[in-house]
Symmetry: C2
Subunit: 208 residues, 2 copies
């Protein structure tokens, strides 16, 4: 596939650019509504005194997510993909140019909510974080394996809802470990704040 | 786009085939984990004495969903799309050949969990049902508009969880009505059974 080859070449170029600017780039992927933007909102509000954040938002339509990030006072660029189902490295390259990159820090790229297509498109990120929520059921890692295989970390969000669900955490992790034995997990709730400190120390460890 | 044109021609052929066999074909689409298979399981168990059901399951990998449908005693075929992110009319045409179509009834096609790409691929269905769950947030119809524009009915599932969420039903419907003023809604919970009878009468009305 020429498209993927071309994308991967540009992704490496992005990776070099991020390295030169001392940016740690994360690619946040999930189903629609798993909580990517909520995680970013809370993370930025809690850590903006310790770290510099830049955000690229990817969605088919609307500025909704960028507006939410904007409220935290962080530099954010919204990419609207139209009928497109994923971000690619060229879109990210163009978006970077619109950001005022000064101090080193984190570049958070929130991808289009889609567990399929974004898995195939390297953006130049140093880490890929897949977010699944307890409300989606345990078997998504098995049914949408490419995404979980390509991720470094799996954040399991909305653990505040566990008392009201039949979700079995171990079953979900086992499904994920089958497709990616190296996958790390963090269980948290953006809403209640449970587990956020584990996510924050994972982020802090990236910087050293 | 040649791909879409070719797909649409085959979709019409499917439509003719379904008409000849007196099948009412539904295309069920949603985010991963909104409850497509759960809705089918409960619908089939409740209505199998009144209607004949056939099911086509679409997923990247696994037989999980087909196995769940199999337990209801219904004819089901699983399509595994691999890296593919949506069902197309050719896949459905091939799958139909594997089903033993005898009596007239409902052909339920559960698409790959993805709010983006399946919107562009007509399968030959007579109705398209988009399922959103209360746990995904209200703004999905605005952020993934093509899917909601292309749907005839929007089932809002998991209303049993409303007491534990900030989800505003009217806000969600307003977002959807903006992109598709003709969209009909049914609020239900597959788990508790609330609203299922409204869905059943919607199905029954299709037959007349
Ligand atoms: N109960 C609960 N709800 C949450 C949590 N995190 C997010 N939500 C809710 O989940 C819904 C979706 O959250 P978003 O942050 O918009 O999700 P997203 O992944 O960014 O969605 P898209 O960008 O549209 O794909 C919203 O209604 C949030 O309030 C959580 O920890 N617990
Ligand atoms: N609380 C609650 N949970 C539900 C309801 N309907 C489905 N679920 C749960 O939601 C999760 C996903 O359900 P599925 O039926 O597998 O969803 P799906 O849309 O078929 O998922 P994919 O085919 O993988 O895209 C499971 O854990 C179900 O138990 C409901 O009405 N209420
Ligand atoms: Mg978002
Ligand atoms: Mg399913
Ligand atoms: Zn795609
Ligand atoms: Zn796609």
């Amino acid at each position: 596939q020429d498209v993927l080859m071309k994308n991967n070449l540009l992704a490496e170029r992005n990776r070099g650019y991020f390295e030169a600017k001392n940016l740690i780039a994360l690619n946040l992927v999930s189903s629609p509504g798993s909580g990517k933007t909520s995680l970013l909102e809370r993370t930025i509000s809690d850590l903006k005194d310790q770290h510099q954040f830049y955000v690229i938002e990817g969605d088919q339509q609307t500025m909704n997510d960028a507006e939410r990030i904007n409220k935290t006072g962080t530099e954010v660029v919204q990419i609207n993909t139209g009928e497109g189902c994923h971000l690619d490295s060229d879109m990210v390259r163009n978006a970077i140019k619109e950001l005022n990159i000064g101090k080193p820090g984190f570049l958070m790229i929130e991808n289009v909510g889609n567990l399929v297509c974004p898995a195939l498109f390297d953006l130049g990120e140093s880490k890929r974080v897949v977010i699944m929520s307890t409300t989606e059921g345990e078997d998504k890692p098995a049914k949408y394996p490419t995404m979980f295989q390509s991720a470094d970390l799996c954040v399991i969000n909305k653990i505040d809802l566990l008392p009201y669900l039949d979700f079995d955490m171990q079953v979900a992790k086992d499904y994920a470990m089958k497709v990616n034995p190296d996958l790390k997990f963090i269980e948290l709730s953006v809403r209640s704040g449970d587990g956020m400190e584990v996510w924050y120390s994972w982020l802090n460890n990236l910087k050293h």
